[in-house]
Structures are given as C-alpha cells and as structure tokens.
C-alpha cells in the first residue's frame, strides 16, 4: 500500500464520513442532500482512485473510472428527483430559509404527514 493510494482512500472515506455527518447535523432535508450528494461523489471518487492506484491494473482502473462517471451522473439526478419529490410532498424548509421563488408554481402540497412526527399516533401493532 503506497502513500498515494492510502492518502486517496483515507480522503475518500473522510468525505463519506462528512456526507454522513451532513445528513445527521443539517437542519432540513434539502441542505442534507446538498451536503451529502457532493461529498458522496468526491468520497467514492477518491476511494476508487485510491483503489486504482493501489491495484495498478488496467481492468481495475477502467472499472474504477466507470464507477466514478456513474456516480457523477447518478448522484445529482437522484438528489434532484428526491429533492423535487420531497418539496412536492411538503417536506418543510428550514425556518432560516429566506426566499422561496418556487412557492409560485403550485408544486408544494400540504405537508402530508404519514411518517412525519406530527402524523397520527400509529402504534406498534
């Protein structure tokens, strides 16, 4: 394990850890997704690079690149889809949010709280 691959692996894992911290600490869903989707692509990117360097094998390298490209494409699309759906579902924005230009188009539905804390008291069953 040479220095470069170790470094890459560690930074990759660090970014993944950051992503995890992000989704726990951030106040609302959208900020969590913002912080996690970037860290995720960087995180996996670095780890994949680290692996490619460590293995130094063309097959591995190409597949690592394929993985990185995949992530660069899928992460934003997934984040976008989820963000949009969450917004349409009335997932609340953090109160510090200043402007909401999207309120104009009637996408935002009333917060349907099946699973929200405010949902009716479902029980263990």
């Amino acid at each position: 394990m040479n220095i470069l691959s170790s470094a890459l692996l560690l930074t990759g894992c660090a970014f993944l850890f950051l992503a995890a911290m992000g989704i726990v600490r951030m106040p609302d869903l959208y900020i969590r997704m913002s912080s996690s989707s970037k860290a995720v692509s960087l995180g996996v990117g670095f780890v994949a690079l680290g692996l490619a360097v460590h293995m130094n094998d063309s097959g591995v390298t190409t597949r690592a690149f394929l993985l990185i490209v995949l992530f660069l494409l899928k992460a934003p699309v997934a984040a976008h889809m989820l963000g949009r759906a969450a917004y349409m579902n009335g997932v609340p924005l953090w109160e510090a949010t200043t402007v909401d230009d999207m309120k104009a188009c009637d996408l935002g539905g009333a917060p349907v709280g099946e699973d929200t804390a405010a949902g009716t008291p479902a029980n263990g069953g």
Binding site: N123, G124, G125
Partner: protein, 749 residues
Amino acid sequence: MTHTRARSRAPAAFTALPLGMLALFVWLAATGGGTRVVGLPFGAEALGFALSFRLDGLSILFGMLISAIGVLVYVYAASYLAGRDDQARFFGWLSLFMLAMIGIVTAENLIALFIFWELTSLASWFLIGMDHERSEARGAALQALLVTAGGGLAMLAGFVMLGSMAGSFELSAIQQQGDAIRAHAHYLPVLLLVAAGAFTKSAQVPFHFWLPSAMEAPAPVSAYLHSATMVKAGVFLLARLLSVLGGTPQWVALLGVAGAVTMITGAVLAVLASDIKKILAYSTVSALGSLVLLIGIGSPAAVYAAVVFLFAHALYKAALFMAGGIIDHETGVRDVERLSGLRRSMPLTAAAAILGALSLVSFGPVLSFAGKEMVVLAVAGVGAGWSTLLQGLVYTTSMLLATAAALVVFRPLFGPPDPSVRGHDPSPAMWLPPLLLGASGVVLGLIPYGITRVLLAPAAAAIHPGASRLHVSLWHGVNLPLIMAAVATAAGVVLFLTRSAWRRAAGALAAISRFGPEAAWNALLRGAVSYAGWQTRVLQNGYLRSYLLFIIVTMVLLVVTAAGDGIRFRFAINDTQFHEIFFSAVIVAGALVAVRSRSRLGSVAALGAVGYSVALLYILFSAPDLAMTQFLIETLTVILFVLVIYRLPRYAILTPPAERRRDIALCALTGVVIAGLVLAAAHEAADPSLARFYGANSLEKAHGRNIVNVILVDFRALDTLGEITVVGVAAIGVLALLRLRPTAAGRRS
C-alpha cells in the same frame, strides 16, 4: 302403504340367483359328509387373506336356509314391490346381501368372513333405507349400519389378534390351536372383541335396539335379513369359533348372561309392543338371545338344540313377517289393536299366520316344539344352581312368546270383522311363500328324521363333534318339559286375554326406555359430535397467529427434547475484526428498527438496510456473486414493498401487552434454540470434498472460472431449473392476482 296394483311380470331373472344357490346347496348336502375346503386363487397372500371356503354341515345348513328362504323372499318381494321404480336397485342389493351372507357362512378365512360380514352391513344399510325420502328410514338405516359396523371394527381387531396368535387366518389352522389360544394372555380381549361383532350383528342386549327400528325396511327385507339370516350371522360366528374360544368360564359367563338377558328382555318388550312388525322383531331378539345362551352353554345337547331351534325359527319367523307384510300391504295398518277379523277376508294369509304363530308358541306338532324341548333339556344339563334359574327364564320366555303370538294372530284374525279395515288376499306370489314356510314348520315337526339326518345332525356335529350321537324327535313321551310347555302356553294365553289390565300399567315401563341402550347410543353420538364441534372451534379457530404459535411451540419443544444434553458449543470471538462485528450489529439493529418502527415505510427502509448489510457480509466473506444478487434482489424487494405497501393502511392495531410479552419470550427462546443448533453444527468438522471437487473440475471440465456460477448452471443445474420455474410461476401469479378479479355477476362463491 298402498301401492298401485299394476301387475308386474315377476322379475324371474332375479329369482334365478337364489334358485341356483339352493340347487348348489342341495347338491352339497346330498354329496355331504365331512369338511371340504375349497380355495379360490384370489386374495392377498401377504395380508394373510385368501378367498377360501369351508363346506361342512354348519355352512350347508345355513346355505340351505339362506337360499331356500331367499327363493321365497324373492318371489314374495316381486309382487310386494310391484309398481315401484327402484325394483332393480332393490333386487341388486338383495342379491349382494344373499351372496355376502352365503360368503359369511362358508368362509374358511377370517378376513374373507369379515369382508362378507361388512358387505351384509352395507347391503342392510341400503335395504333398510329403500324409502330414503323418509328421514325415519334414513335414521334407522344409519343406526343399523353404525352399530353393526362399529361392532364389526372391534371384531376385525379380534380376528387380527386371533390371526397373529395362530399365525394364520385360516379357520382350520386356528381350530387346531384352540388350547394355545384359550391359554393366551390376549384370550379375553379377543373373546370380547369377537363377541362385540357377534352381539351387535345378532342384536344382543345392549346392542339390540337397532333391530326394532330396522322395521322401517320393506317387509321382504324384514322377513329375510332381520329374522331369518343376517341377524343369525353373529350366532353362526360364535358357533364357528366354539371349538376355538368356547368352553372357558369367560365364554360361558359372557354368552350365558348376554343370551339369557336378551332372551327375557326380547320377550318382555314383544308383549309390550303393538306394531305387528315390532312384536315380531322383539320376538326375534328373544330367539337370538336363547341361541347365544345355548352356544354359551356349549354342551352337545345345547349345540344340537341351538341348531334345531335356529332352523325352525328361521322358517316360522319369515312366515310371520311375510304374513304381517301382507296385512300391512293390504290394509295399511300395523297396529294389532286396530286389526280385527281378517280371517274371512284374507283366509290364506290367515292360515299362514296361524301356522307361523303355532311355531312361535312352539307347542303342538311343530318342529320348534322339539327345539324347545331340546333347549329345556340342554339348559337343565347346566351344572350348579344355574339350571333352575335358566329353566325358569326359558319357561317365562315361552309364556311371553305365547302371548305375543296371540297378540299377532288372535285379535287381527279371529276378532269381529271391522268394516273400517278392509283387505283381501293378494296374488298367490305373496301368500304362497308364508304358507309354505308355516306348513313346513308343522311337516318337519311331524317327520323330522329326513331333515335331521341330512341337515341338522351334520350341522351340530360340525359345531361340536359330540353332538352327532343325539337325535331329534317330536315325542319324548309325557315328561316334565311337555307339562311345563303346556302350562307356559296356557299362562301365555291367559296373559293375552287379560292384556287390557296389564298393558296400560306396563306403558309406564316404556318410559324407562329413555334410559335404555338406544338413548345411550344416541347420547354417545351426540356427545362425540358436540366434542368434535368444540375441538374444531378451539383448534381451527381461524386465527393465523394461533396456527403459527402451534408450529413454533411444537418445533421448539421437539428440538429441545431431541437435543437433550447431546449438544456442545464452542464460543470463539478471537478471530473477528471490528467492522465485521459492526455490520452484524447493523443487521440486528436494522431488524429491531423494522420491528419497532411506527411507520411502514420506516420498517421497509430498515429492512433495506438489513438486506444491504447482509450483502456486505457476503462481500466481507468472499461471496461476490452472492453479494451482487443480494443487492439486486434487496433493491427490487424494497421497490415492490413500496409499490404494494403504499396502498395499505398504517399500523392501527395494538395486541394486548400480555400477549406481546408472551410472543417475545417464545420467539426469543426459538432464536436461542436455532442459534444453539447453528453453533453446535459449526462445531462439527464437515468433509470439504464437495468444494474440492468443484474447484478441481470447474475450469477443466466445466470451462468456467467462477465456481459458484458453474455450480448453478452445470454441477447443480437442476436446482436452477427448478428455481427459474419458481420465479416464472410467481410472476404469472402476480399477473393473475392483479388482472383476474371476480366478476360480480359471474361468481357464486
């Protein structure tokens, strides 16, 4: 029960069968002598069953009786049932009965005997139930079937035990080992079981109640099955096994008591009844009782008496039933108190009835008189104090039977003609058979020598070798039995004349029948049905949870008791790394979240996490194919869950806490048990030759480096063939479930 009197051509075809049988037995009797065993190449050797027949004096006597009376019954029935659309069905069952009855009396192999025995019960069920639209007929038929079949099952057990004791079901083999069997530890149970079969068939108390209710059957059936033949099957069986099971104190006591009690009970009930067929039925019960008593005594005299009495009884009782049938058929009335003065309008039927009644009284120039005498002599021969009691019982019975005879004959025929009850003699086919039977009682009584030498003596000898030296004669000179018979008959007539006094008082006696055996039997059945209802409600209660509990508890109990102490564990934590334990913990934690989560989607997401962690474990322990498939399947499962669950309601039901604690405890225990098993199994060193073989041949023979995939598509391709079928069928199932809905109109569920 009047029927249109359409003249139907007598179905001659059917009568051919009894005639043929009669011819056969006449030929057999003629060429008689000794015991001939004829085996047919049929049966199941491994089961010890062979269709072999024994033709000796006893079987020929019964065969003759069955076929002779059979001919007369067929002729009688042809016109009795004229105009009914189910005649063919009737004669079908009657023929099945006759052949089966002949089968019983000629069977050499106990299993063959049992087969014929059950067939007679089956035929009797259908014959009693001919008028199956009437619920009374159905009830009577079912009762008869169940009582006799129930007894039959016990008898089967007896036969099987007897067969295993003797090493064969062949009577000849069994009869040779009489002493060994009598001394065998299982002698008493065998006796009781065989007796159960005989007593139910031959309507001994307390199993007698089915016979009177079997009178729902048409007259020919009552005349044939429930007097002359079928009910005698039990007596025949006991006679047949006398040499094997007889002679022991238990035999004598069991048959003696049962016979005596049945004899007297039958007689008493006969005089209390007013329906002509019921009276005759009870008198038959009494006759069967005396026959069982005689077989119980088992002395040569008793055996001979039984043979003579049995033969005589078959003739006159069939005659009386046929006569009774004609009266019922013509006038539609069966109550003796309302019948009166029919001798003028139905002279020939009256003649038959009188002859029959005479034999029923068994006093005067009739064969049954000789039989009665021999019964008295046999009973007298019994040692110790018993003979006086038994003689007393015999005379009381003959007194009561005399009264019964009077009831049946005197008022209906000799009373003043009653304009409201009209009737006249039917066609000769109906009155000739009873007349012949009645007359034969007298003729054979006067000159018994022919019948004795040809039939009765050989039959008695077949039952008990010592019986062959005796002889039958009408006239033994004026001796005590003669005087006593006269006194009994007279007393019977007196009793008849004073019947109006005691019959009303005796009506109260009928009330006790509520506690009689029939009531007990019905209570038993009702009890069984209600218990069945309760048990099914408790076990099959419809709650899926209770079914699951049954399974889990059974599994845990069985596994724990089976494991006992024969299990060893070995705990080894040292070889694990942190992240492996961590992901295992994630699996358990994920499952816990899925269990406790309030929201369905929360549970599904947690389930997804569990699935992913399991896949990670597969990665960590070198199973790439597995992990890949698990990731794919887990995601598709989560997607399916989402698509389906989204329409289901939220969790709304809370099971009571006590129940939840119980479930938690039970499931925890199950988890411990399974974990224990896995640990113990891991402790056993297993032979890795499969893995070695696959490793060696995967590339060279199967052209593949990925051993797991090679196993799936080559080494164990049959598994995969089945597996893809499962997936294919599941998919069709999903399509069918979603697309095929019950059309509101089309479907009556």
